[in-house]
């Protein structure tokens, strides 16, 4: 066997304990990484395998309006060719259990349950419920929200339904994207009776198609595209739900970055452990140099050792990653309605091993390079002073100081490369690597300063402190404790975990707070013309109403021409193409909306016959519009044309800031519009308003902004939990490093305990000394991590919202204290046996 590997292996046999810690430190990071990547592979595999089930069809046409006559005729011809189709409608509305109950915003799905879904199975409890025009199945959370059970009745829109089952699984649920609130599944006949299917409402229509075997999918897609054109988006099952796949890919990349933190922490552990190991092997290195070994030859031995450790740690990490992979579905329970097939794919394993080995080798560089500085004369004299001949040449000097700098640069470059690889984006990878390296540098600097300050403080007030405190603090400066490295490792994990938690809450708090004080908090959706006046009158009479602006009309329209040119002939980037695909809510206004600045052109006078349009700044930039251009939309099968009279910018926090196109009243005069309202209600009066409106106008959806934020909060909470689970691996890495450092100083501690016992210290006193040492490390790491997490959160909130960040002291205190306790537990786990050693035995061994 190669000399270097053989020597490395023989040397490793004598250092099993220390090397076990190194293996574990690497394994923690690799486990997190391969867990994430492996789960992502499993999801990708499942999405592909279950693609038809997830779509419920072979092909799907997604539209924002009902199929027109031509489209319906086309579907009939397809049916004659054996291509079956079914129609699913999805919308949001209110559901209530009775006149006294507060209506709940719910996701409504209507389908022909004889056909739907073509693939996959809906699961109900009890099974096979009779879903008719008067019955529904609901998700379990609706039962809870409305305090009802199976067999009770609920009202959706204008119709009352009896609940006949709880929906346990709807495999195609993910295809619709983000669902708002609890779910109600009903028949198409039932949906007709609700009255929700109004002209111009914002329901999503999905036409599912089942193709006979051996069909030419591409040819059929092409036919559908030619018929539906931009009114419908055609997706086939082989695309495996592109939105979901893309989102999973993004999530996987982000979570891989989080795992990288754990791996880098592990790298810090490797560096400190290998450094300690080489320190202990200084004599061996000196002997080998005496016997003719060059620095390079000797370095090969320890490099081989690091390589073996990296491989071992990575392999253990990959195995643990497989276990971690099986835990992820728990976090995402309820998000997927298909069982994720856990697959042990080679790709995440190879990635994990590559990254684990690379990290190990990178972090071993600085201690390896220190071998060049070990002089063979060390054999004769330990305390070799620096003799003049050492600084013999400028070249040697430069080389001596260059090596550590180059090794640190190599580590930084390595982290960057790994980050870019894992994220799949050089931009994201660069930001992440820069942030992580910056955090580590700052953490290390602060840790060093804290330790120096502590030492000075204890020295200064030494006479006033108990021996336990003096000794506990003094232990921090014992050679080989690597306190700074431990503080950095633990601190990084605490900092990241806490940052996620702090931002999770404050982002949504800021969303609530950052809305202008006179912003509406209740939104009325799907108000038909016939109901508008009566509804507004009803609302104005209710208690707690602060402001009721007039209803805004809107109708869905899709851009068809710009200055007479069909949009299909206009070249735009992929991102800008959405302006041609989207069904815009076209609204009108007489006056300039609040908080709006006219950037060019002018607003229209009150009564103008010509159809005019005001375009929002971003849309104007994307479509390269100027004042005077003409826009044409397809609206409910008809054409609507208008001239651009101004380009505007509305304060982003305002309602309506998102309206890309506002027309003058003349433009929409001849079109059937739906009305929307945005009103301001005293928060304690919202639920009674919802009840009153639902009773008289059950087809109107009343959205409480607070409820929407709560839904977003619950999604954010779930994401945050997943991220924090992964960042816990970083904390685990820090704990392993602490335990490793404690175990590495075992013999010194044993001698110290023996001497202390000899001079009269009780076990209790010794326990207090060591506990204080571990506690200081943990509390310092927790406090530094918490402080940096707060600073980072302040920066993010300021950048995003230009708002002050409110410090949450409780999480900071909890993080600091719990890190202290974890450090004490880890420290004692690595050293509890030393308490039982007999002093004489230890001292005799020391003499020998």
């Amino acid at each position: 066997m190669n000399f270097a590997f053989r020597m490395a292996l023989l040397d490793a046999k004598a250092s099993r304990g220390r090397f076990l810690f190194i293996v574990l430190a690497i394994a923690a990071g690799v486990a997190a990484l391969t867990g994430v990547k492996g789960f992502s592979e499993s999801v990708r595999y499942t999405l592909f395998k279950e693609a038809r089930t997830l779509m419920g069809a072979d092909l799907m046409i997604r539209m924002n309006s009902l199929p027109n006559e031509a489209e319906q005729a086309f579907l009939k011809t397809l049916a004659e060719k054996g291509i079956d189709h079914t129609h699913v409608t999805e919308t949001v509305s209110m559901a209530a259990s009775g006149p006294e109950s507060t209506p709940v915003l719910s996701s409504i799905k209507a389908a022909d349950l004889q056909k739907y879904p073509f693939y996959g199975v809906l699961e109900f409890d009890p099974p096979s419920p009779p879903i008719t025009a008067d019955t529904v199945s609901v998700s379990e959370d609706l039962l809870f929200r409305l305090s009802v059970k199976v067999g009770d009745s609920i009202k959706v829109g204008a119709h009352e339904f009896r609940i006949v089952a709880v929906s346990r699984k709807e495999p195609d649920r993910m295809t619709t994207g983000f669902t708002l609130g609890p779910r109600v599944l009903m028949s198409r006949e039932g949906f007709e009776r609700t009255g929700l299917n109004v002209f111009g409402s914002r329901a999503t229509q999905r036409i599912l198609l089942r193709l006979p075997a051996e069909s030419d999918v591409e040819a059929i897609r092409s036919e559908i595209r030619d018929t539906f054109r931009r009114r419908g988006r055609v997706i086939d099952y082989t695309q495996a739900n592109p939105t979901l796949s893309r989102n999973m890919e993004r999530a996987s990349s982000f979570l891989a970055m989080v795992s990288l933190i754990a791996l880098i922490v592990g790298g810090v552990g490797v560096a400190t452990s290998i450094e300690s190991h080489i320190q202990q092997r200084m004599d061996h290195v000196a002997i080998m140099k005496c016997l003719g070994g060059s620095s390079r030859r000797v370095m090969q031995v320890y490099a081989a050792q690091s390589l073996m450790l990296g491989v071992a740690g990575s392999l253990v990490g990959v195995l643990c990653g497989f276990v971690a992979q099986s835990i992820f579905p728990q976090f995402l329970a309820g998000y997927f309605d298909v069982d994720i097939d856990l697959v042990l794919s080679w790709k995440p394993a190879v990635q994990g091993i590559s990254v684990g080995v690379l990290t190990t080798l990178l972090f071993t560089l600085p201690p390896l390079l220190s071998i060049t500085r070990i002089r063979p004369a060390l054999i004769f004299r330990r305390d070799l002073p620096e003799s003049r001949s050492e600084s013999r040449s400028p070249r040697a000097l430069v080389r001596g100081s260059l090596a550590p700098v180059l090794s640190v640069l190599a580590i930084a470059l390595g982290i960057w490369l790994i980050a870019v690889w894992m994220s799949g984006s050089s931009r994201v990878g660069s930001y992440f690597a820069g942030g992580l390296i910056g955090s580590i540098v700052v953490l290390a600097a602060i840790a060093k300063m804290v330790m120096i300050a502590l030492r000075h403080a204890v020295t200064r007030w030494s006479s006033r402190l108990s021996p336990v405190v003096r000794q506990g603090v003094a232990n921090l400066y014992r050679p080989g404790t690597h306190v700074t490295a431990i503080l950095v490792a633990l601190g990084v994990g605490v900092m990241f975990t806490l940052t996620v938690q702090l931002l999770q809450r404050s982002l949504l708090d800021q969303l609530r707070l950052s809305a202008p004080p006179d912003s509406p908090n209740v939104f009325l959706v799907n108000v038909v013309s016939a109901h508008k006046d009566g509804l507004w009158e009803l609302i104005r009479k209710q208690p707690g109403i602060i402001e009721v602006p007039n209803a805004s009309p809107a109708i869905a329209g899709q851009l068809s021409r710009i200055n007479g040119t069909p949009v299909e002939e206009i070249q735009l980037s992929e991102g800008e193409q959405r302006y041609f695909r989207t069904q815009f809510a076209l609204t009108w206004s007489v006056e300039i909306p609040k908080a709006t600045e006219i950037l060019s052109g002018s607003w229209w006078p009150e009564s103008v016959a010509e159809s005019l349009v005001s375009v929002e700044e971003d849309a104007a930039d994307a479509l390269k519009l100027t004042v005077g251009d003409t826009l044409e939309w397809s609206v409910q099968g008809r054409s609507l044309s208008a001239r651009v009279t101004n380009i505007r910018r509305t304060d982003a926090g305002r309602l309506g800031a998102n309206n890309q196109f506002i027309l003058n009243p003349s433009a929409l005069r001849d079109f059937p519009v739906i009305y929307y309202g945005a009103i301001r209600v005293r928060p304690d009066a919202v639920t009674s308003l919802q009840r009153v409106v639902f009773e008289s106008y059950p087809t109107v959806t009343v959205v409480n902004a607070a409820d929407v934020l709560d839904i977003i909060q619950s999604v954010v909470d779930r994401i945050s939990l997943t991220v924090r689970f992964l960042s816990a691996f970083a904390i685990l890495g820090g704990v392993i490093i602490l335990a490793s450092a404690v175990a590495g100083t075992r013999y010194r501690r044993m001698r110290e305990v023996a001497v202390l016992k000899t001079i009269g210290a009780t076990r209790g006193k010794i326990v207090r000394i060591f506990s204080l040492e571990f506690l200081i490390i943990g509390v310092a790491a927790g406090a530094i991590g918490a402080t940096l997490a707060t600073i980072f959160s302040v920066i993010v909130i300021d950048r995003l919202f230009h708002a002050p960040f409110v410090v949450a002291w409780l999480p900071l205190a909890a993080a600091t204290l719990s890190t202290g306790l974890i450090a004490v537990a880890a420290g004692w786990a690595a050293s509890f046996r030393i308490l039982g050693e007999k002093p004489l035995e230890v001292l005799r061994q020391a003499e020998n």
Partner: protein, 225 residues
């Protein structure tokens, strides 16, 4: 051949300056056995270390077989040691994780020559120091005398032209010390190696061809015996 000229070694610590060797000059012809003696702190071990290229002098020169070693870098010195110099330590300095045979073979492996032929030579050397049966034993399993014998075998592994020994019998009892001395002298005779010993051992001194005595870093006597 060893040529030492005007060798000075000064060490500066944070508090004071120590002159360990002061203007030492001497020559050692090939195959000569030289004993360097002197009281503790006289500079003997430092002189030996400088001859081995384990440190650099403050001034002066050292030529080994015509090569001025004072101008060489650390790695160049290591290579030179591998080729030309054998070293025997007072505290044996065996690598504890290698067995006896592996310790003897180490110089060859460090120079990239750990092949079958060298393994045979290592076995032969262990045999010549009477430890063939202990080839697979680790230093912790060997007595002091046995460890030093392994050290001697290791020192002769690369057939050095110069052998340097720092108190080779210093940690041994008289019986083992005598045995070690006999081995060193026999191997020296067989291979014609120049042998430079630092020693307090009178027995060792008596077997040398020449004695150089140091006091306070200077040569106070240099006698052929």
């Amino acid at each position: 051949m060893i040529v030492v000229k005007n060798l000075i070694k000064t060490v500066e610590t944070s508090t004071h300056r120590v002159e360990i060797l002061r203007d030492v000059t001497f020559e050692v012809p090939r195959s000569q056995v030289v004993a360097i003696t002197g009281a503790s702190g006289s500079g003997k071990s430092t002189l030996l270390g400088l001859l081995a290229g384990l440190d650099w002098p403050t001034s002066g020169s050292i030529h080994l077989d015509g090569t001025d070693i004072t101008g060489l870098s650390e790695d160049e010195l290591a290579v030179l040691r591998g080729r030309k110099i054998g070293f025997i330590f007072q505290s044996y300095q065996l690598i504890p994780t290698l067995n006896a045979l592996e310790n003897v073979l180490l110089p060859a492996e460090l120079s990239g020559n750990g092949n079958g032929k060298q393994i045979q030579r290592a076995e032969h050397l262990l045999d010549s120091v009477g430890l063939r049966e202990r080839a697979e034993h680790y230093p912790a399993q060997l007595s002091g005398g046995e460890q030093q014998r392994v050290g001697i075998a290791r020192a002769f592994m690369m057939q050095p032209s110069i052998l340097l020994a720092d108190e080779p019998t210093g940690n041994l009892d008289s019986a083992n010390g005598l045995h070690v001395l006999e081995l060193m002298l026999k191997l020296n005779q067989d291979q014609g190696t120049t042998l430079v010993l630092v020693t307090h051992d009178q027995n060792l001194t008596e077997h040398a061809d020449r004695r150089i005595m140091l006091r306070d870093g200077r040569i106070v006597s240099d006698d052929l015996l």
